[in-house]
Symmetry: C2
Subunit: 470 residues, 2 copies
């Protein structure tokens, strides 16, 4: 694809669309919009940033961009981990930060309708104030935008019980790549009227449309939540216990995993100590429910099952302070590893749950073979792991070369085990070159056919999610 | 679209692909493949029926059909209610009846992989024998094929708690409209590697690919199930109680609704009597869970809530015989209405749950205005109703004309209330002409763009789900 540059005339027309105060062209500011939480070396500044307030303004921007063939990259809070918001071909960044209203909380239908720039935790608190509950708790909940959650189909810890973002998205308003506004789905719990375009747009990383309104389904807030920290001597045994638990218990809200390298990094970073930090596998198991007695009984069953299954001990956190301590450690592993190393690469593989021990073995072999330390943690209940190779004292050039070789081997191993290369962070900029390792050629062709059909000029977030070109 | 006719040469080539014994050309047999459970007047016989055994054979059929531009209609058990399996342009019917193996039950990952021709109840029993549970219980579970469930994204009674078919589909193998075999998704609970093509194919009514393998996720079977039959004097009050229950209880597996006309038809057909059959609204509420004590306590809470909310009485069915009696009545309403009338039209509207009372009022008005009796029943917990206009003693011509006028008015009312025209039966042949009433022009254009991109010759199940043509 060939794109044109943003000219002063185009900037002028953008100003007329969104208003003078909402167009950014100063180089320093543009730099800030050139990256998200992906590694620094992926930074690419846009030529101009616009901050529209309405879908109509976005539609006008898309029409203009098609007219001049200028790439457009939508952007939320910039907390993404795969570079989905990086404007790799320059052009226009459409920042959705001003579209941040909670439009309606519909208590009877248990649905909330919001604009994409709403911060996830703000939405969660607003619906909880009405006795409702949005359960997808992404680690960055206090800063990420719900629009980004939809674009990447974000997961998080409670996906085990509650599913990922897409499970809760029932309605969308989008601006199409050619600048048309359309509403898809709605407050309908079941609907087979036409193709499921809602779930096609969810997780499409802003390549098929810019989301301007979202209707999420909600549930009711569990009245009692308990967390159990369970250290195991071996990962194999931890996974065996997880598989057993799943066949016996409905109420497991989260099953998280941290290895010894991860837990020790988190301890240093959070200035805390967790018990048995030399164990190969720590599970963090959350049980929730509506009735305190029932939740405690479920926790007791988990307790007996894991102790019988060889857990070293079980620590129960039944108050907010202890629970927060455990989850803070778990949520801060990536930050801790980043602080302790020159370079890291947060990966996001997924395998069928039963293949986790084999995957962990392969990772240990690859770690040795490539001489790269690879702390391992993640959402073990979903088979979703975040191996995070760290650079040690390598310089950037050596690191990028060594990392590349490691990743290719890791992705091949993942595929051999029936897994895939990203579970919740997205293909984005970072993984698009690995897509042929991950998906069949025919599937990539089917994806490209949709992209071409909806975005004939290839201008909406080009180079993400799916390779461009013929 | 212009299609060619099936010539003797094409039949000969089909015989070479699937084997002599698996090609049907005799007119009497072709008639049988010209209809599903849609009304008789929609019957259109194909020119030839083939019964392939492998995806490779289907791929060869699709390539041949593209070469000669012959329409191809995939067919499961023929239990669909919208004519999705009717070969409206003649051509080839691909019957999947021989592809009926349960390929793998993966206990550790709680997944089952099957061919499309497996009967739903057979799959349910097979996984239950391994301690697992597939919860989507479509009314026709003893005869429908799982491939058809996927094609129509079938719902059923337990969707309230467990979701519809699509919620459980994690992997598909399909033959594309141009005859390529591709696997989408897999045994991965989370996966954002590329667009969500699995959920695009689910519910696409066999227009985007022929499904040849399905991997369903499973859960664990509830150990205790109770059903409560709750008559209310008014529908308004019944709905108010449903909304209240949803905000307080997690464990509600089903909330079904039958009005007085439906319940009396079912009584006659099943030769049974149900209590308070003169009440305007009967709710059938299912509570399930893993622990008997907890389920009984939940049932008691429901009992107290609905009695306080004005229920006439509550009948608890805690044994298989009584439960079967209630569900048999509920499941046989459509059959009963069919037996008691010359013509009926089983409709499948959905509205936001809170709008059900208003929708019911509109239906009563429309019933009077069009002088058509409209028994009403359905999955009230999902906002999914099956108003079923019945002909009385009208002749076919009068009926078709009167029905048409009624349906247009009903669909307009549905849209005004934020609803849609089909929740679980599909657009199919029956509703494609109403699509412009149901969906925005832009959305239809986006759907057509996908259909054209994947099926450039427009030969796979043409005229279903989405209008053909430019």
């Amino acid at each position: 694809m060939r794109y044109n540059r943003v000219t002063p005339e185009i900037v002028e027309r953008l100003r007329r669309i969104v208003g003078d105060g909402y167009v950014i062209t100063s180089p320093g500011d543009l730099e800030r919009y050139g990256i998200d939480e992906i590694e620094e070396r992926y930074r690419r500044p846009p030529e101009v940033v616009v901050k529209p307030r309405t879908p109509e303004e976005i539609a006008a921007i898309m029409k203009l961009a098609n007219e001049y063939r200028i790439p457009v990259t939508p952007r939320g809070a910039g907390t993404g981990l795969s570079g989905g918001a990086v404007p790799i071909h320059g052009g226009i960044v459409v920042s959705l930060e001003r579209m941040n209203e909670i439009l309606e909380i519909d208590v009877d239908n248990m649905m909330v309708t919001v604009e994409p720039g709403v911060v996830l935790a703000d939405m969660m608190r607003a619906v909880e104030a009405k006795g409702l509950f949005y359960p997808v708790d992404v680690s960055t909940l206090e800063s990420c935008h719900v629009g980004g959650n939809v674009a990447e189909n974000a997961g998080g810890a409670r996906a085990v019980k509650y599913g990922v973002t897409g499970h809760w998205v029932y309605g969308l308003e989008i601006v199409t790549p050619t600048g048309k506004i359309v509403r898809l789905g709605g407050k309908r719990i079941k609907d087979v009227t036409g193709y499921n375009l809602v779930q096609l747009v969810v997780g499409s990383e802003g390549t098929l449309g810019i989301v301007t309104k979202i209707t999420f389904r909600l549930t009711i807030k569990p009245k009692c939540v308990l967390d159990l920290l369970v250290p195991f001597d071996t990962l194999d045994n931890a996974v065996a216990q997880v598989n057993k638990l799943f066949r016996e218990e409905h109420g497991l809200a989260a099953i998280e995993f941290m290895d010894d390298l991860s837990i020790r990094a988190a301890e240093r970073y959070c200035n805390t100590v967790l018990p048995h930090d030399d164990c190969e596998a720590h599970l963090l198991i959350q049980v929730d429910g509506m009735k305190e007695g029932e939740v405690w009984r479920a926790a007791e069953r988990v307790y007996h099952a894991v102790v019988e299954g060889g857990a070293k001990e079980v620590f129960v956190a039944d108050n907010r302070i202890t629970r927060e301590k455990l989850w803070r450690a778990r949520r801060n592993i990536a930050e801790a590893l980043k602080a302790l190393n020159n370079y890291i690469s947060v990966e996001d593989i997924v395998v069928p749950r039963s293949r986790i021990p084999e995957m962990a073995r392969r990772l240990r072999e690859l770690s040795r073979a490539h001489d790269i330390e690879v702390p391992l943690y993640g959402h073990i209940g979903d088979g979703n792991l975040h191996p995070t190779p760290v650079s040690g004292d390598r310089d950037e050039e050596t690191w990028v070369r060594d990392l590349e070789a490691f990743l290719v081997d890791m992705f091949k191993a993942v595929r051999e085990l029936g897994g895939n290369i990203t579970a919740e962070h997205g293909i984005g900029f970072k993984r698009v070159k690995y897509l042929p390792l991950a998906l069949d050629e025919v599937e990539i062709e089917l994806m490209k056919a949709i992209k071409r059909a909806w975005d004939p000029n290839g201008i909406l977030n080009p180079g993400k999610a799916v390779p461009l070109g013929p």
